[in-house]
């Protein structure tokens, strides 16, 4: 399948049983009818299953402002792995 936007090849991925197509060029994602609803349902299930947050030492702060192009903030999704590797990179010039 070709991307309708940039015409590069689309690759099929399976996310929790939902088939999605992602473009190898512009990285756009193509969803079939009903797939967005399926993903939304899965996400709300994930949130419900998540363990309760540990008691905070400070009152909960509102999420800081982010730019329009910022990554979606998933509280906790980007767990230790990214965080640890990212931290090491922040010690170096780039």
């Amino acid at each position: 399948m070709q991307c309708p936007k940039c015409h590069a090849a689309m690759h099929t991925y399976n996310r929790n049983g939902v088939q999605i197509e992602q473009c190898s060029g512009c990285r756009g994602i193509f969803l079939d009818y009903g797939e967005l609803e399926a993903l939304t349902r899965l996400e709300s299930q994930w949130v419900q299953q998540a363990p309760p947050a540990p008691p905070a030492a400070y009152p909960a702060q509102p999420a800081p402002a982010a730019p329009a192009w910022g990554a979606p903030q998933h509280g906790g999704h980007h767990g230790g792995h990214h965080r640890q590797r990212g931290f090491g990179r922040m010690l170096f010039s780039s």
Binding site: P67, R83, R85, S93
Partner: protein, 338 residues
């Protein structure tokens, strides 16, 4: 890590001789433990060799001599004494290098200017929780609030953060033009308004120019408090202080720096009276953070191509961020010149 300097294999060795002379004087005995003598960095843009309580640094071969003199004098200036680690005197007759100049600061090894500094323990890469984000923010706020010193031996140049972003894009164009993600990085770069890459008349703040956590060390000369200090004035100068916050901002925007850490950093910067941002921090941070994202992504393509390896997970995140930047232009403005 920058590219090594393959034509100058003797620079670390000659720097080690100079560092020893700076630590002990020539011809005197050295009783430093072997573990305290080592090469801390060996890159084209900076070779650093430790000898006991000090380090000697060979700067980039293309260092601008006038700018270097001004930057060195800035680091030694009393007005930034609690912010930058100050340079130490060079040995009078460095073995393997040219002699000390009239002002006591000029020496070179293999055509590269050399300086000597106190050794300071860096941030522990194994312990992210202990990273001194608040202290880093406070030091940057203090630097930005310090009026530029008037009586320097040469005019303080512009800080180099925007130039470094443009150079990274040039390097990617030169060495990885056919990488599948190169077009994406260039599209993101074209959303950076060229006007923000040159200093505006209002941008007369003292800036570090290349801030990241590797630019902090403890000042071990005060063994009780061991206060954190900024190091590396090679890119320092006058400019828009938002660029000094741009790397943490870019990492937060990419989803790599946790929101609570970013809040702590920005909160500490504001609490210390830092002038870089107003009520909406992204008014000033948006463009520099885009540029730092592009810079990081461009260097990732250049380095991964040179090393013949695929992008790693963190590098992929930066490319994904470039995709979102490319799809989200800034307000109508002239595009970046390159």
């Amino acid at each position: 890590m920058e590219t090594a300097a393959p034509n100058q294999p003797d620079v670390p060795a000659r720097l080690a001789v100079l560092a020893r002379a700076a630590a002990h004087g020539t011809g005197r005995p050295c009783d430093c433990a072997g573990g305290l003598l080592r090469v801390l960095a060996d890159r084209a843009d900076g070779t650093v060799v430790r000898h006991g309580a000090l380090v000697a640094k060979a700067h980039a071969p293309d260092t601008d001599p006038e700018g270097h003199r001004a930057r060195l004098a800035l680091a030694a200036h009393p007005s930034v004494a609690g912010i930058f680690l100050p340079p130490l005197p060079l040995p009078l007759r460095p073995a393997g290098g040219r002699g000390t100049g009239d002002d006591g600061t000029a020496a070179e090894v293999a055509g590269r200017p050399v300086t000597v500094w106190p050794y300071g323990p860096p941030v522990d890469p194994e312990n992210p929780e202990a990273a001194p984000w608040e202290e880093a923010a406070r030091l940057l706020a203090l630097l930005h609030r310090t009026p530029p010193p008037r009586a320097l031996p040469a005019p303080l140049p512009a800080m180099r953060a925007p130039v470094k972003a443009a150079l990274a894009v040039d390097r990617m164009r030169g060495t990885a033009p056919d990488h599948p993600a190169a077009a994406t990085v260039l599209r993101a770069w074209r959303t950076v308004p060229g006007a923000r890459l040159v200093p505006a008349p209002r941008d007369r703040f003292l800036c570090h120019g290349d801030f990241h956590l590797g630019q902090l060390v403890r000042d071990a000369r005060d063994p009780v408090h061991r206060p954190w200090r900024l190091i590396d004035v090679d890119d320092a100068g006058l400019g828009d202080p938002a660029w000094d916050l741009a790397r943490p901002a870019a990492w937060f925007a990419a989803g790599l720096l946790p929101a609570d850490v970013w809040s702590r950093f920005l909160g500490a910067y504001r609490a210390a009276g830092g002038p870089a941002v107003g009520a909406d921090p992204w008014d000033r941070l948006d463009v520099p953070a885009r540029a730092l994202t592009v810079q990081t992504a461009a260097l990732a393509l250049a380095k991964s191509t040179a090393e013949g390896r695929p992008l790693d997970e963190v590098e992929e995140v930066m490319i994904d961020t470039c995709v979102r930047i490319a799809g989200n232009r800034t307000d109508p403005a002239p595009p970046a010149s390159t």
